[in-house]
Symmetry: C2
Subunit: 362 residues, 2 copies
């Protein structure tokens, strides 16, 4: 087991990474309280829930362990589903000393975290991410929230968990498409902050695609460490943290346009990474060979490398204008100065942006 410690001004917590951690209740013990609600979904629940509930019931401090199972998928990440968590908590009569456990992927983590931020104005929560994407991304850093029909992740809170438990064995049951979507985010960390890690990923890509446990654990650890470092610098995204959104402005536009759930988040980010690299290269920052290297890795992982059928330039521009990085009407994008070095900038030619969007049209 490896442990990363996230040190934020007002809150510290551990991220444990390793195989079989879901069977080690002693890791959870210090963070439990008398009332526990496990939030999971219809896909992950049947695999891990019973065992987890049993372990929790054996903990002396725990008096009540209940769960709520939500529908699976990004299209359910909205206020209506969030209300199912609130209703369950209120029907159970849970107090502000209760603890929520998020058992599932990024959607479950984001909704559970926001529910924890808002229920009785704030209760504790623990992240147990079970997808590669959530393990390397959404479970680290405290960004929580839900989608609005007019924009992704537009309603939410910064809310740090008490603990993140990453059991790498959960990846063994993950569908290929979801696993690959997670690899797109792993790639992102190399691109934005660590050229050496990017090269390591190229060298170990085959092993990662085969889910070789050692390589997977290492990729998760290095991804989380890179994210933790960026987040510790800038918890509420006043500045540098925005580099974590490389490819996301394009990706969110794709997700909104296709309707949440049609493309997985990581799939939209995959195409978005390539588009961001393409634009960076058009601006003369990035060697074009990097685009090819990213393209090769994405293709090998069977990730999309083109825009959705029929999504026009105007569709992109309209949806990108709603990005959270827009300031006073000016679009800012995360771009690459070089491999391993990202910047947030509004300094790009709109003609280059048009060329990039057009270039990726199907």
């Amino acid at each position: 087991m490896k442990t990363l410690r996230l040190d934020l001004p007002a809150h510290q917590y551990d991220i444990h990474i390793g195989p079989g951690l879901l069977s080690q209740p002693e890791l959870l013990t210090p963070h439990l309280s008398p009332e526990i609600l496990v939030v999971t979904n219809e896909t992950v629940g049947p695999i891990y829930l019973q065992n987890l509930l049993e372990l929790l019931r054996q903990q002396p401090v725990v008096q009540r362990v209940k769960h709520v199972s939500l529908p699976d998928g990004e299209q359910h990440k909205h206020m209506g589903t969030l209300d199912e968590i609130f209703t369950r908590l209120l029907e159970l009569g849970y107090s502000r000393r209760c603890t929520l456990l998020a058992l599932g992927g990024g959607v479950i983590g984001d909704m559970t975290g926001f529910a924890a931020a808002a229920y009785q104005r704030g209760v504790n929560y623990i992240q147990i991410p079970t997808t590669l994407l959530s393990q390397v991304d959404s479970s680290v850093g405290g960004k929580t929230g839900v989608n609005h029909r007019l924009g992704k992740n537009m309603i939410g809170a910064f809310k740090q968990p008490e603990l993140v438990l990453i059991d790498t064995l959960t990846l063994q049951t993950l569908p290929d498409r979801e696993y690959a979507a997670g690899l797109a985010e792993v790639l992102k960390y190399g691109l934005i902050a660590d050229a050496e890690f990017f090269v390591w990923l190229e060298q170990n890509w085959r092993k990662l695609l085969e889910r070789e446990p050692g390589a997977v654990a290492e990729a998760i650890y290095r991804s989380c460490a890179l994210k933790a470092e960026v987040v510790a610098d800038d918890e509420t995204e006043q500045g540098r943290r925005a580099i974590l959104n490389l490819g996301h402005t394009f990706g969110h536009a794709i997700e909104t346009w296709t309707g949440y759930g049609a493309w997985l988040h990581g799939e939209a980010v995959a195409t978005g990474l390539l588009m961001a690299a393409d634009l960076s290269s058009r601006m003369g920052h990035l060697e074009s060979s990097v685009i090819d290297r990213v393209h090769t890795l994405l293709e090998q992982a069977k990730l999309p490398v083109r825009s959705p059928d029929g999504m026009s330039r105007d569709d992109y521009l309209q949806l990108m204008a709603r990005d959270k990085k827009v300031e006073s009407g000016v679009l800012r994008l995360v771009l690459l100065k070089s491999l391993g070095h990202a910047i947030v900038t509004s300094d790009f030619r709109v003609e280059d942006l048009y060329l990039t969007i057009d270039h990726f049209q199907s």
Copy 2:
């Protein structure tokens, strides 16, 4: 004009109190940003909105001033109405640098504050409370949120404003019933923390009922000062802050039982204060003469001093069990040790609680 400064560990802000402050835009200027959304309701909007929008448009820093008008009343303080604010913000394409202005009573303030906490994970907001209740209570201290059908204020956030602007002239247009409801909260401050203020209120009650400007301003200032002192001690209600809820556990039960909006919040608190005083007296803490003094003041203000018709002991017990102060299934109440001294305790005889509830039945 009098100014109170609220000094919290992570945030400081001013509360300005005086007549005509809504016509002094220079108080707002330092806290404005290019994108402004005024959130108001159908009752207050027609009186103050046009003038405020005009003043805001004259501010050089402001580029866009828009508003949204919500239906008036506690029964609309829920997720559905909150979504009207989010939808408006997203349709306008407002960024995370926008500022929300809450122009209205406690319902508008609570919803605007929570919208500001959650929109893009947090934007700034300013409180301009226009009812006595919101001026002395909900606009100070950063408690924001909405009701759930299973409990009042169950979904929300601690979110401090950038500024609170209390224009005492707005009270001149307030309906009698709402004004009296505010006086119940004013009385609360005397009861929980300042016996001298309670005596001052008794001496000035006639003037206050007649809305004599000097007396009203003084009552607001002293109420806000008492609240600010308690909140600065304990921003997120880990301990002492809970004394501000004197009468509220009974009051919330009444509000939930009657359906939000039937009784005004301050009306429910009025009866709740009396019930809390009654229970405190039964426990041998409080002289029974204090109950009579509170009773007299409430009656003079035409505030309710009995439970709603038909609300049973079981109704109370069931609804009170959902209070946010419940810990591990144990109900805690705010009670009076003496006039001006409140405590939070679970140390009361349930038989006394039954007697109190029965005593107030209509």
